[in-house]
Amino acid sequence: MSPARGTRTGKTSPTSKSAKKPEKKATKKAVVNKQSTKTRRPTDRSATGHRVDLLEAMLRIRRFEERCVELYSAAEIRGFVHLYIGEEAVAVGVNEALNPEDAVVSTYREHGHALARGIPAEAVMAEMYGRTTGCSGGRGGSMHLFDASRRFYGGNAIVAGGLPLAAGLALADRMRAHPRVTCCFFGDGAFAEGEFHETANLAALWNLPLLLVCENNLYAMGTGIERHEAQTDLAMRTASYGMVAWAVDGMDVEAVEQAARRACEAIRAGAGPHFLELRTYRFRAHSMYDPDRYRDKAEIERWKGRDPITRLMDRMREDGEPADKELAAIERRVTNEIAHAVTAAEEAPEEPVADLLRHVTSASAEVS
């Protein structure tokens, strides 16, 4: 498996090359997006500050999940736990382009999306513990994180199941003329499901303000993309629906942010759905249950060499920013935050079994 094609410098590559002859609309749009977007080099202090923020957001996810590994091994948390380690640049970069009033729809691998969206680590951790203080009141667990106040609509554990829902959120915004974006995350595995294609068609047909974000980590559980897709150029395929589609280096948080910003600006301006294929990799197994027998160790090591966190830090050092002291301060802050989240989750109350039937219907939501 070769690393993502042609994206090493953090350039976003429109699919116009590969999508030479699809229907007229797609070709036209792809050409519009042909100009390259070089990674921004910070020239002033605020750009440096922004990099520090990106770093902190990625580190929060990384450390949170490393803690999850320990807690899972200690049987403190259970269920299916899907880690995002290695893919942090995607959640953080995309979230930078979103406003609080935008909506996010996610999958079962959503700790990163939830934390990047601003759901407090405490609420996410309490959910892993199944406590009432969890962001889903303990009903959802790792795979079903929700936060209505942040327009975070899960946490969908059916591959591609969140896509139609995201189209509906976008439809409501369109009908109401709200200049908002709905962002939907999903994996490469979703491409084999009809729901992806039904949604892409509907979104393009109705010009919905939808940002489709495919995290192409090259595997659907143990099945490599070349064994589950007849055509592995996902951006090119999506462009054939008549929407703008870019393939982006998903290991470069600044490249992701730039691509997402451009897409969101266009969507807000009424340009309709956009698709980003973010080429990324998960450093860990599919879930905590997975012995990871299907991947070559050398491949994993090769991708770890592109770790989005080290990569950003290296780039910052190259540019002479910021002091290692500042990085140590971030590390301390994040570690404390997560330690506090764990303690709070451990101490949080469990929902009484007498409330088992709450929240089945809105009427039962009040019963208690």
Binding site: L163, G168, E195, N201, H359, T361
Partner: protein, 331 residues
């Protein structure tokens, strides 16, 4: 027209449904209709004919043949504050959207710890009787009634066709409305409503003392006809229209059986694992000592519904089957 008492009006089930949709869209701009051929075609059963002209293509929205995507889009729009009415042509096709209905619509409120109610209405036709063969004739509403987190209703009368939509839209949770295809042409006088339709309670369509005939939807007319025949035989049958298949109104069923001591359940679905099986089990659980005879069930034969007229008729519950079952219970 003008002042004074509202008059009884001649109407059909189809027109009553349409009027309900029109009223809903006029009174709340969050309501919109979406589905295959609901717009230009006028709805594949003609229910939405004329609504496109009145409300425009934004609110009477033709969708591609993508049951999963447009049902899911209805869920998303409901989450974002709209009040979508999604039409699926028939229950058979709804199976392509089952993921969205079960895994999202019915589940989001609970999985989110009460944060995400889904105020969505899904309408679809169900049932046989028009020689449409197996893939357009099944009665699967009982499967949906299996699912916690949704409400399942079946308007069987002109009044319910006209007045069930408003309370369904007022429900903060997903409501599935099953319209039996053989009812659309039913016509009669539509009286002004005495009270809003109560989606929590079954309706006693004909009071009686000798036996409870329990049914819903497209089987109601056949069951009422059976009750007339039984009356001619000196048997006074009570006819209960379940109206809401989930949640079931246990109280009305139990009270009726306590009066009549006999029950026949009429359900166009297959007998095995049917809603009739559920009602029957509940009677056994709650009313066992009230019973003077075994509970009878009149259901469809366990066969994909055939095309040929005589075979289709033989497969479906008919008035004569209901009469025979009642006689077995009473005699």
């Amino acid at each position: 027209m003008g002042a004074g008492q509202p008059q009884e009006q001649k109407t059909t089930y189809r027109e009553a449904m349409r009027e309900a949709l029109r009223e809903a869209m006029r009174s709340d701009d969050r309501v919109f209709l979406m589905g295959e051929d609901v717009g230009r075609y006028g709805g594949c059963f003609g229910v939405s004919l004329g609504l496109l002209e009145e409300f425009g293509p934004e609110r009477v929205r033709d969708t591609p043949l993508s049951e999963s995507a447009f049902v899911g889009a209805g869920i998303g729009a409901a989450l974002a504050g709209m009040r979508p009415v999604v039409e699926i042509m028939t229950v058979n096709f709804s199976l392509l959207a089952l993921d969205q209905i079960l895994n999202n619509a019915a589940t989001l409120l609970h999985m989110s710890g009460g944060q995400l109610p889904v105020p969505l209405v899904i309408r679809m036709t169900t049932g046989a009787g028009r020689q449409l063969a197996a893939q357009h004739s099944h009665s699967l509403e009982g499967w949906y009634a299996h699912i916690p987190g949704i409400r399942v209703v079946a308007p069987a009368t002109l009044e319910d066709a006209r007045h069930m939509l408003a309370p369904a839209l007022a429900d903060p949770d997903p409501v599935l409305i099953f319209e039996h295809g053989s009812l659309y042409n039913a016509s009669g006088e539509l009286a002004p409503p005495a009270a809003p339709v109560d989606l929590d309670h079954a309706a006693i369509r004909r009071p009686g003392t000798d036996i409870s005939l329990i049914t819903y939807g497209g089987s109601l007319p056949k069951t009422l006809a059976a009750a007339d025949e039984l009356a001619a035989d000196g048997i006074d049958a009570e006819v209960i229209d379940l109206r809401t298949l989930r949640p079931l109104d246990d109280a009305t069923i139990t009270a009726s059986v306590a009066r009549t001591h006999r029950a026949v359940i009429i359900d166009e679905a297959w007998r095995t694992g049917s809603l009739a099986a559920e009602v029957s089990a509940r009677i056994a659980e709650r009313s066992f000592y009230e019973l003077d005879a075994p509970v009878e069930r009149v259901c469809s034969a366990e066969v994909p519904i055939p095309y040929a007229r005589q075979l289709e008729e033989a497969a479906l519950p008919q008035t004569s089957d209901i009469v025979a079952a009642a006689h077995r219970a009473v005699d």
